[in-house]
Every structure is written in C-alpha cells, then in structure tokens.
Amino acid sequence: MDTNLIFTLCGVGLCGIGFFGFIYHRHLLRRLIAFNLIGNGTFLIMVGFAQRGQGVTDHVIQALVLTGIVVAVAATALGLVLIRRWFQLKGSTQLPEDDAS
C-alpha cells in the first residue's frame, strides 16, 4: 500500500476519533485534546492526500502544515488559559449543561 494512502487513512481515523470525543465528552480538557486530535488528523490528511502520486515533497503543503501546527498550538494555549480561569472561578472542569436556547 502507498505510504500516502496510509497517512490519509490514519488522518481520517484520527479526525473521526477526535470528532467523536469532541461531541461526546463534557470535560473541557478532554474536548481540547479531542480538538488537537482532529487537528493532527487534518495535518496527516494534508500531508498524505495532498501529495499523493507526485513522488516529490510538496513545499506548499509543508508550509501549510507548519502554519497549521502553530495555529493549533496557539488555540490550545488560549483554550488552556480559559479553562484554568474557569476552574479557578467555579472549581469545575465542565460547563453547565445547555439550557435549550
């Protein structure tokens, strides 16, 4: 099997797991980790799917994935700060359940 296909399939799998976790869990940290899984899955898909059949490394994709990783790190940091503040204020790691709005 082609390596790029393996990357793509792994990426799709990771995205699936991440999406499930994001929807299923209520714990804020778990959801943030799930978001990171989706992100990593996306990057794998980018690396694998986008350069299939070309035989050479695509610099554009490398630049995109690098930028994407930076953005994901920033997002995670922002999320962590907000979660920590929430924990300090409420002593809880979850948001209150949605009142049907």
């Binding site: 959801r31 992100g39 898909i45 997002a75 709005s101």
Partner: protein, 487 residues
C-alpha cells in the same frame, strides 16, 4: 506594486504592528498610538477605494513573495467595500471603547482590537483559501479574548463555548481546503475557480467548508454559542462582534458560493441554506421577543438578521441573471446595513444599561424621558433592522423581495414579511418598556455625551445607507472575480 504606493500592505502591517506595539508601550501611550493607527487605517481604506474605483482590482504580493508560498492579496470592489465598512465601524467602536473603558481595561483592549482588525482586513483581502483560514483563526482568538474581557463568570463561559464552536468550524474549513488542494493542486481562489471540477473530493470539501463556515457565522441551528457571547461581552465588544466578526465567515462562504459557482451546480444546497436562513429569521425573532435582558434581545436579533443574509443564496439562480444580481446586491446591502444598525443598537443598548446600572428590560422604565437621544439612536437602528423606509435595511429587503418575485420563489417573500413583523415586535417591545413610568427612585447615571453621539452616528449611518445605496451597489458591480462568476 511599490509598498509605499499601495495601501494594501498598510491595511495589514499597521494593525499587526499596532497589536504588538500597544502590548509593549506603557498604559497611557496606548490610546494615543491607537488613535494614530485608526487614522492611518481610515486613510488607507479611502486610498484603496480611490485606486479600485479608478484603476480596477488591485493585487499585491507581500514582500514580493509570489504565490504559492507568498501571501497574495487582492482587492476587488467587494473587498474594498468591506474594508471601508470595517474601518468605519471598528473606528467608531474603538472611540466608544476609549470613552467607555477605564485606563486599565483600555490598555488591554487595544492589542486585542488591533489583532481583530488585522485579521478582518486579512480576510477581506485574502486571495487564497489558506490565508482565509489563518485569518479566520486569528479572528477567533481575538474575538474570544474580547468576549472573555468582560471578566465575569458568564462571559467566561460564553467565551469557552465560542472558542470550541469556532475551533471546530475552522478545523472543518481547513480539512475542506486540504481536500481541495489535493484535488486541484492549488490554493489560489482564482486558479481554483478556473480548474474547478465536481469530483467526489470537491463535494466532500464543499460540505466540510460549508459546515465549518455555517458554524462560525452562527446560522440557525448552529447559533447557540452566539447570544451568550454577543450578549455577555462588554458593550463595544458586542458591537464589534455582531457588526463585523460574523460577517467574516459569511464573506468567505459568499465568495466560495459565487466564485466557484456552487449555486449553479448544487441548487438544492442553496435551497437548504435558504431554509436555514428562514429558520434563523423566525427562531431568532421569536427568541428576541422572549428575552428579559436588553442585550440578549439585540443578540438574538443578530441571529435573525444573519438569516436575511443567508436568504440571498437560494435567490442566486443560474437561469435568471437579473434575479441573481438583485439577490447579490440585496444580500450585500443587508450585510452593510446590519453592520451599522447593529453596532449602533448595541452601543445605544450599552448606554441605556450604563444609565440604569441593570441589564434587564424592566429597569428601562422612564428612559425615553430621561435619555431621548439614546432612545432615538436605538430607534433609528431599529428602523433599519425592521426594514422600514427610508433605510439601508429597507432597500436591501426590497431588492431581495424583487429577486424572489423574479425567480418565482414566492415562499421567501412570506418569510421576509413574517420576519419583518417579528423584528418590529421586538423593537417596539423594548420601546414599550422605556415609556413605562414607575414610582421607583431615579438613580440614573449619565453617560458621556460622546458615547451617545457615537451610537447615534452609527444608527444614522444605517439610515443614510438608504439614500446612498446606489454607491455601494456600484462598488460591488465593479469588474472582479465575483461579477464574472454571476450568471
């Protein structure tokens, strides 16, 4: 083009530099520095407007790095109009914030505002799908930071919800972009449009991008994060979020829909978008009618107004070029009128809450006697939102109505009219509270005159738009990628 002559780099570099600088300099220098920045932004927008109207669409490669690795920017009529809109509204909100916030708060407000401004300009000007992604993410971070800025429990909760919804949305968008790149080997909007072919990959990509952007624009039923975030934030922030931030993801959706001619190949998806818009109009209007807090009324009104903008998608039909053009113009005018009216309404609502010191509607009793100017500003914005003549909102709805007639889609007319009734109801409901007289002691605070004048100025802008509608409509009809892709 030379960096000095083209205003395009200034629109990105100055806000980014402003964000970093205002974080570094001492507190009392931050406001003067920002005021200088605001004026350069306004000037750059006007210069860009002049260049685009006289010399046609402008292109710029940042630091002479050409695509695909460099950052390519383009300004057509649509982008220029959005630049002008965001410069005007953001400046007004910035001056409002300067008068509204304490020195301490203000000092932390400026960096976030400049990040927000930079990402907005980046989105309006982006020529490729990946820059749009970076712009979207930066915008999210700045906006989430600004929501949490109110620093109470409710706004913190709202900002976490907002962050999670927005992150999911941008990841879906990025995945779509990756698939498009895999299928067509390019990121540039122009080359994507040239080589577009409807394979299964593109269909999955469009679905992902659509889902992500709908979540970020808060289109019904993905709107639940919006009311607490917009209603719970500080007043100038609420105005910025409702007037500008949600427009960014809508703008991207619009560009995709028209430039890649999705409206032509997937008309059923357009109808679905219209149905979501109709749901937003009715549900948002109904919920606005049931709120007990003033800013929540305005926030739910935003949900409803997003629905009106979404109504333009089913009206873009390949068979009738005239109906499509009317729908496009109506949708854009709707967006512009909403930007001014909603910013004005949020600021006026904030002033009223500042007076009474309480956020709920019942404490507004007696306000129309005590703060007539403010109520007037609120009312003018309401006129535009209700779509009464003469206002930008009226012209926009008139164009959408005509387009529905012309393309024979009468069901949207019913939605438009019902939505108008609902908006009238929730605006007049607020008025009813302000006319009540109670025996309670009047312990009102008086807001600064400048706060009231800024709110009034924005509301007057939304009315004025009704008189000068021809001008923005000419702007967006300038030759450019969007006009070429319309039937």
């Amino acid at each position: 083009m030379n960096m000095i002559l083209s205003p395009i780099p200034w629109l990105l570099v100055i806000p980014l530099a402003g964000a970093v600088l205002t974080m570094l300099v001492p507190y009392h220098w931050r406001s003067p520095a920002s005021v200088v920045g605001i004026f350069t932004q306004l000037m750059a927008s006007v210069v860009l407007w002049y260049q685009v109207t006289h010399y046609g669409p402008q292109f710029y490669a940042m630091a002479d790095w050409q695509a695909p690795l460099g950052i390519a920017l383009r300004a057509d009529g649509l982008a220029t109009l959005f630049i002008l809109m965001s410069s005007l509204v953001a400046s007004a909100c910035a001056f409002y914030a300067h008068a509204y916030l304490s020195l301490q708060k203000r000092a932390h407000f400026w960096p976030l505002l400049w990040f927000l401004w930079a990402s907005l300009n980046g989105i309006w000007l982006a020529a490729d799908t990946f820059n749009l992604y970076v712009g979207l993410e930066l915008l999210t971070f700045a906006a989430v930071g600004l929501v949490a800025f109110a620093s109470d429990e409710r706004s913190l909760e709202a900002s976490i919800r907002y962050l999670y919804a927005a992150l999911l949305g941008s990841m879906a968008y990025l995945l779509g972009v990756a698939l498009l790149y895999g299928a067509q080997g390019t990121l540039s909007m122009d080359s994507l449009a040239e080589t577009w072919h409807w394979g299964p990959t593109n269909q999955v990509a469009v679905t992902l991008i659509l889902g992500g952007l709908l979540l970020k624009t808060a289109v019904f039923p993905l709107h639940t994060w919006l009311p607490p975030a917009h209603g719970g934030a500080l007043t100038p922030v609420s105005a910025l979020l409702s007037a500008l931030v949600i427009k960014a993801s809508f703008y991207i959706l619009l560009r995709f829909w028209i430039e890649f001619q999705i409206y032509q190949f997937l008309p059923s998806l357009s109808q679905l978008l219209g149905a979501l818009g109709a749901g937003a109009i009715l549900w948002g209007g109904w919920m606005a009618l049931r709120q007990t807090h003033l800013k929540m009324v305005v926030a739910y009104s935003t949900v409803a107004q997003i629905g009106y903008m979404t109504l333009m998608f089913p009206l873009l039909v390949a068979e009738s070029s005239e109906a499509s053009l009317l729908a496009y113009q109506g949708g854009i005018l709707m967006l512009l009128a909403h930007a001014f009216a909603k910013a004005g309404m949020f600021l006026a609502a904030g002033n009223l809450i500042f007076c009474t010191g309480k956020p709920d509607l019942v404490s507004l009793a007696g306000m129309s006697r005590y703060r007539p100017l403010n109520i007037f500003a609120f009312g003018l914005a309401g006129v535009s939102l209700m779509g009464l003549p003469p206002s930008g909102g009226f012209n926009a709805k008139w164009l959408l109505l005509q387009s529905s007639f012309m393309s024979g889609q009468w069901w949207w007319i019913v939605v438009l009219l019902l939505g108008n009734l609902l908006s009238a109801a929730y605006v007049f409901r607020v008025f009813a509270y302000t006319y009540q007289e109670t025996d309670a002691l009047d312990t009102y605070k008086r807001p600064k005159l400048s706060l009231e004048l800024i709110a009034l100025g924005l509301s007057v802008g939304s009315i004025l738009l009704g008189f000068i509608s021809v001008w923005p409509l000419e702007m967006i009809s300038l030759p450019g990628p969007v006009m070429e892709a319309l039937p």
